[in-house]
Assembly symmetry: C2
Homo-oligomer: 241 residues x 2
């Protein structure tokens, strides 16, 4: 019933959503596994089925779960093909997302600059992890990335040799659920450094991508500044609703 003292303003179905999200982040519910059915959940939590359904509606929109009539409700594997491409809008001429390979990758620990602090909502000097790498598609160099992440969210990452090249996979490893991202696009010309890394002529026009990825609670998780050299036919895709 929960008819008792309601001091909190947050609606019940959002409180339920918070509890269920916690079960995912804590690892109690693992990606790919099914979760209790709606009736059982409602009994367990002491709320009505309608309230549970509304919580699940929210979580479905947040890409956290998938519901299939007749089968059940399942925790999403964020590394699955469709979800992994959520934050990659670079597509090939056939409309398919480009799957890229890592060419070079350096990882370093450091202290946040003023700019990194502003983007990641840290204080300047807070520990960060930086990655610089080149991604290629079909033997062509496409992306030169400079990434900064708060060390606090990825403890021990700097000492690991391997960093997954997709932010969704990295986040899932550290039990972080991603919410959204904002990307800003501009056009620039390749400086000599950039030109060398991407194997293009100096002054080649490039797409500059400045992206901040947020976790589901709205805190910044990654700041990526990338230079992108698009081959003929490739494009950056935006869907508006």
């Amino acid at each position: 019933m929960s008819n008792m003292t309601r001091f909190t303003i947050r609606p019940l179905y959002l409180q339920v959503r918070d509890m269920l999200v916690e079960r995912i982040t804590s690892g109690q519910w693992k990606p790919g596994s099914g979760i209790s059915n709606e009736v059982d959940l409602s009994r367990e939590l002491g709320v009505s089925v309608g309230t549970v359904r509304k919580a699940l509606d929210v979580m479905e929109q947040e890409h956290l779960i998938t519901r299939r009539q007749g089968r059940g409700t399942f925790v999403n594997d964020q590394t699955s093909d469709d979800l992994a491409m959520r934050f990659n809008r670079i597509c090939g001429s056939e409309g398919n997302c480009l799957s890229m390979d890592i060419l070079k990758s350096e990882i370093k620990a450091g202290r946040a600059t003023e700019e990194e602090g502003a983007k990641l909502r840290l204080r300047a000097g807070d520990p960060v992890i930086r990655v610089r790498r080149v991604q290629s598609a079909q033997a062509k160099r496409v992306l030169l990335e400079q990434i900064a992440m708060p060390e606090a969210r990825f403890p021990g990452l700097a000492t690991k040799g391997h960093v997954p090249h997709r932010i969704v996979a990295l986040a899932q490893q550290f039990g972080i659920l991603l919410g959204g991202a904002q990307e800003r696009l501009t056009v620039t010309r390749a400086t000599s450094n950039v030109a060398e890394a991407l194997a293009v002529e100096t002054d080649t026009p490039l797409l500059e991508l400045d992206r901040i990825v947020y976790s589901i609670d709205g805190r910044p998780v990654e700041w990526r500044s990338a230079m992108c050299h698009l081959s003929h036919g490739d494009y950056y895709s935006v869907d508006m609703t």
Copy 2:
């Protein structure tokens, strides 16, 4: 109740949504005006309040209505500032959408080319309306647009002198509700023609925007190919969820 023969598969709340959308497109409910309250609507349509609410939920996500607790539900004016910027992702350095002015504008009637037919789902040779124009922000030329629209959706537009420079305003004039859009971005260099129109040097790097806008029923309404010259600080903004 509607317990009677249910041959249709489309859920009742979506049928209700369709009926309410029709009231907007037909002009029975005008932008800015309030609509009947949920209880009255449910009685009038012979469905439960919950079903009406679910229909309104959908319409709110489609940007068709705004609900305000204690006040009522209102039909959105698509030309209002926030909604008008829905399909314009070009922002200034302060994060605000650039509001632009029309510098030059030509409108012509014509017959669809193969490419226009493919983009607008017409047959080659079907009547189209074409617009070519330049937009500027703060005295700087920013956009060179080439637009094609199906004449059937905008009867008589070619003979009008004035074309609103925002697709949302134009659509509202002709009773079209817009659903979504897809934009494809690439980087190119200004050809001599483009350079002249935008008052830049030949070979200046430009952002090329290829956009198709769809009406709420999923049919193409406008195909725009634009060349964009971004000033320092301006950028194209993408939000991902």
